[in-house]
């Protein structure tokens, strides 16, 4: 058993390229916005650069931290309680505009909902590992897991940050699906979501407007359909090769938040089909490598944790790009590694670090396929595949 495999270098490369592309795009897209917000054209870029550097530092740290250490009640519940506390804190201290998403720390600010995603992944991985094969049994553990995740989703949802809360929900759903949760639960969830949709979307005018705008963006190009149409115009007018670095004009207040949620549209306008597909492929490679790493992990906890991280990042990426390309209604979800957003950048890069550490504790692919190692009994606390 090779317990000291090298880090997955392809994954490292892919992430670094994505982060690099992100910085170039932010540099191009943000000056006008930045001047509006901070008075200087480099403000947003500088902040993002600092966040990325901090994220890379945490990536290195996480990469060198044995991920098995996270399979510990103290770590899991501790981080859960911490993040619940932070979420509660922002709810009690809302921003001036009514939303409460930020914790202000001097010049910096932090979005606890970003951390909530990672904490949810930790907790699910931990609980699913404990449960072993008995995933479908609706026992106390499953109810606890669903309940705790539900609390997170609820807290994030009432901030309100519906985008992140959907992201959490889907990540949890996919993780449970992978773990073998019976399909009938998903059918149940679908049925349950109809009243939820009614109350959370249909009854909230601005969300409903987004859905309607998505369904027919041309109907009212200057109001709700505006964002989607502008995004399509940006990508479409980029053509095959794009207009070139910093040549895009859609970011000049046509695109809403060109540096955050719509950075992929800026990419489309400035680098065309070539740029869009490149980034898409990079995410594809990331997801493939991520799944591969997870499947080769030396423990079932590692597999779940890795898959959780890949799901979290991959789902956000696909959702964000779908929104930009007009395949999905708009939701405030950033594009991992590319969008401006310090909290997101830091958490995403840290998650990659965890994934990289899992890649270090790999069983080696062939061995796994030929002779699937049998993990300990479902009730066993011994988590490593080979320790049976």
């Amino acid at each position: 058993m090779n317990r000291k495999m090298p880090y997955d270098q392809i994954l490292v490369m892919v992430v670094l390229i994505l982060v690099g592309i992100g910085l170039v795009l932010v540099f191009s897209a943000s000056p006008v916005m930045s001047k509006e917000i901070y008075g200087t054209s480099a403000g947003i870029f500088a902040r993002q650069l600092i966040a990325v550097l901090l994220g890379l530092l945490l990536l290195l740290l996480a990469m060198r931290t044995d991920y098995h250490r996270y399979a510990n009640e103290w770590v899991v519940y501790g981080s859960f309680v911490l993040v619940i506390g932070l979420l509660a804190w922002v709810l009690i201290n809302p921003d001036v505009n009514g939303a409460s998403r930020w914790i202000h720390l001097g010049p910096a600010r932090f979005q606890p909902s970003e951390a909530a995603k990672l904490v949810a992944v930790f907790m699910l991985s931990f609980l699913l590992t404990r449960k072993g094969g008995q995933i479908d049994r609706l026992d106390r553990q499953l109810i606890t897991a669903l309940g705790l995740i539900g609390v997170l989703i609820l807290l994030v949802g009432i901030e309100p940050d519906l985008g992140t809360s959907i992201s959490l929900l889907v990540t949890a759903g996919i993780l449970l699906f992978i773990a073998g949760l019976n399909y009938r639960y998903y059918l149940l969830l679908l049925l349950a979501s109809i009243p939820l949709y009614y109350f959370l979307v249909h009854q909230v005018p601005y969300r409903r407007a987004r859905i309607e705008a998505f369904l027919d963006p041309q109907a009212d190009p200057f109001d709700t359909g505006y964002h989607i149409l502008q995004s399509l115009v940006a990508v479409g007018s980029g053509g095959l090769m794009g207009k070139g670095l910093a040549q895009g004009t859609q970011k000049l207040f046509f695109l809403p938040e060109p540096h955050t949620d719509f950075i992929y549209a800026v990419l489309g306008e400035e680098y065309g089909l070539l740029g869009c597909v490149t980034v898409l492929l990079l995410f594809a490679v990331f997801i493939c490598r991520g799944i591969q790493i997870s499947m080769r992990a030396d423990s079932i906890f590692g597999t779940y944790l890795g898959l959780g991280v890949v799901t979290m990042i991959g789902f956000q990426a696909l959702l964000n790009m779908s929104v930009v390309l007009g395949l999905c209604p708009t939701k405030g979800i950033p594009l991992p590694f590319l969008s401006v957003g310090g909290s997101s950048a830091v958490i995403m890069l840290m998650s990659v670090g965890i994934l990289l550490n899992i890649s270090r504790h790999s069983r080696g692919q062939l061995a796994a396929r030929a002779k699937p190692a049998v993990p300990g009994k479902s009730t066993s606390q011994k988590l490593k595949w080979e320790e049976r």
Binding site: G180, V235, G236, L273, I291, L318, L325, L327, V374, P375
Partner: protein
């Protein structure tokens, strides 16, 4: 068993997931292909049409009002022509259209674009101000061919009373390239307006508002579809001046075309109520671009209409200076009310014969009569007693020969001669004979009308307040009669001078033209030669006409508690009594009517 089943199940579920992911990726790639390849033309067209325009929302400058809030300067709407450089497709075509069809001179067009080249492209460039209706109609008709031109409504400076108080108010103009380099104007961009003279310039920073802008979504014809962002402009602060618009009007009407100047101030607190200078100019001509002809006319006029004679021109004070001499003598203890001098019409001093204007002589003169009849001999002899250095020092005490410090720029100091001055300026010693000329306000003595008014204010009230044009809050009414400040001179001396000046106006003296029934106007006339007698003798009749003396009148009222000092100079007016005093009289009368006249009896209102 359960375990390996788990593993297999895990593998199965992962495979499902992989299929789902591949499908999503395919959908995304397909959509990218649809957007960038299939529908490229359409989106490219939409993107070029998708233009945002930045529409400048020029902040109006603050208003300027008089002491009672009457508007002197305000703003009106004006339609200005701008060029949006982002919309220019063919620069040559744009330039040709601007020059041939819109009547912009090539030099202006190139200069404006050249200046703007250092500024962001989305900022429209100002090409022409104050478009007329036919120009606007023409441009709108050609908007489709030339979407790069836009018309924006902007505030324009309006001097409501045209030339009234033009020198005080000043004018505005487009900031020049050199001015843009000054730190004071660092925030500005080409096309912005700044104050170039007068109050507009001195308080430019206060008057200037904060420009706003609007970003609007426009279609391919430049029509504004929707505003996407707006920073509203903030109007500049309103300035309240100490000027009294009604009195200013009276003064300017009385001056006619001049040349001359009128100043009126409150000696108790230094408020300037009137400052008029003629000939004048119309600041409204500068509010848009001044035409070449108008400019050349202003510059070519030998009487320099742009010059503010009240503070930028100096004149010999002539006999007005006798008042300063009188108080100097009294304060120095060299003369008193009863000191008598005999005027025979001339006197021989230092080997020269000095004449009185009354060649027949005034006979015995005390100070009061000497002032009343403006006897030269009395003041020749007083001047000899005082000596130039005492005269000089006392003149400075009453503020002559130095800037008053009024808030306008370009004020000159004038000149009070002294021995030291002569030595420094000419390297020569002072001749005592020169003192004699100075004693009657001739010689190298030069003052501005404002200075002279202030000096009389100081002499008759004994206070020396700082002159000002900006009305401070709570100052709007006339100053209270009791001022706690200690008086600078002995009260009895002041009373003597005030009485003497009263007699000039009210007891058959030279200033009777300034008399106002019911109002104790006091004053002193002056007739100041502009060349020396000896030079005059050498000139022909015709040339002598050009050097008619300047006529002065400086007065105050009421006698016992002066609250208004008026100085009038009519250049080439001849005798002060004939041309300056009646003019001052009209101003005193207007002041009296406005502020001092007792309320009409109530019965008048109750007749019906």
């Amino acid at each position: 068993m359960a375990i390996s089943q788990d593993n297999r199940q895990l593998q199965l579920r992962i495979d499902y997931l992989r299929v789902a992911i591949v499908l999503v990726f395919l959908a995304l790639v397909f959509k990218i292909w649809l957007l960038t390849v299939v529908d490229y033309e359409r989106y490219a067209e939409l993107a070029t049409r998708n233009q945002i325009r930045t529409i400048p929302l020029t902040a109006p400058r603050g208003m300027v009002v008089d002491r009672e809030g009457a508007v002197l300067v305000e703003n009106i709407h004006s339609f200005n022509l701008f060029l949006d450089r982002e919309q220019v497709l063919n620069p040559d075509r744009t330039r040709r259209f601007a020059i041939r069809e819109l009547g912009i001179t090539p030099s202006r067009f190139d200069r404006q674009l050249d200046q703007a080249s250092h500024y962001p492209k989305f900022q429209p460039v100002l090409l022409k101000e104050d478009l007329q209706m036919d120009e606007i109609a023409f441009l709108l008709a050609h908007q489709t061919e030339h979407p790069e031109f836009s018309i924006f409504e902007q505030p324009r400076r309006l001097y409501r009373n045209d030339a009234l108080a033009a020198h005080v108010l000043g004018f505005v103009g487009e900031v020049s390239e050199n001015e843009l380099d000054l730190p004071e104007y660092a925030q500005l961009k080409p096309g912005d307006t700044i104050g170039k003279a007068g109050v507009e310039r001195v308080w430019n920073a206060v008057l200037t508002g904060t420009d706003g802008f609007s970003r609007a979504f426009v279609n391919s014809h430049g029509k504004i579809l929707e505003e996407v962002g707006r920073t509203p402009p903030v109007i500049g602060e309103t300035l309240a001046l100490t000027l009294d618009k009604e009195l200013q009007e009276v003064a300017e009407a009385a001056l006619g075309d001049g040349p001359g100047a009128v100043v009126a101030l409150d000696p108790r607190d230094g408020q300037i109520l009137v400052m008029a200078s003629k000939p004048s100019f119309k600041p409204n001509l500068f509010a848009t671009r001044i035409s070449m002809e108008d400019w050349e006319e202003l510059i070519g006029n030998p009487d320099h209409p742009l010059q503010n004679r009240a503070i930028q021109s100096t004149f010999s004070p002539g006999s007005i200076f006798k008042i300063t001499m009188a108080l100097a003598g009294l304060e120095a203890g060299l003369v008193d009310a009863n000191t008598r001098v005999f005027c025979s019409g001339s006197v021989e001093l230092y080997g020269h014969t000095f004449h009185c204007w009354n060649t027949g002589g005034h006979g015995h003169m005390r100070l009061r009569e000497a002032i009343q009849h403006s006897c030269n001999i009395y003041f020749y002899l007083l001047g000899r007693k005082l000596g130039i250095d005492q005269i000089s020092a006392f003149s400075q005490t009453v503020g002559l020969g130095e800037k008053t410090g009024v808030e306008l720029s370009g004020e000159v100091a004038g000149l009070v001669p002294s021995k030291e001055w002569k030595r420094k300026a000419f390297g020569q010693r002072w001749y005592d004979g020169e003192t004699i000329s100075v004693a009657i306000g001739q010689g190298p003595l030069n003052v501005t009308p404002l200075q002279l008014a202030r000096s009389i204010g100081i002499i008759v009230s004994g206070f020396r307040p700082k002159l000002h044009l900006l009305l401070e809050s709570g100052e709007a009414g006339l100053a209270p009669s009791a001022t706690p400040q200690p008086r600078m001179f002995r009260e009895e001396n002041l009373r003597l001078i005030r009485d003497a000046m009263w007699s000039v106006v009210n007891e058959g003296g030279t200033g009777s033209g300034a008399r106002v029934a019911g109002f104790d106007v006091c004053g002193k006339t002056g007739t100041a030669q502009t060349i020396s007698n000896r030079t005059r003798e050498r000139l022909s009749e015709e040339e002598q006409q050009k050097y008619v003396p300047n006529a002065w009148f400086v007065g105050f009222a009421p006698r016992d508690n002066p609250e208004l000092v008026v100085a009038v100079i009519v250049q080439r007016g001849g005798s002060g009594g004939a041309s300056a005093a009646p003019l001052a009289g009209r101003l005193f009368s207007a002041y009296y009517e406005k502020y001092k006249k007792p309320e009409p009896k109530l019965q008048l209102a109750a007749v019906n």
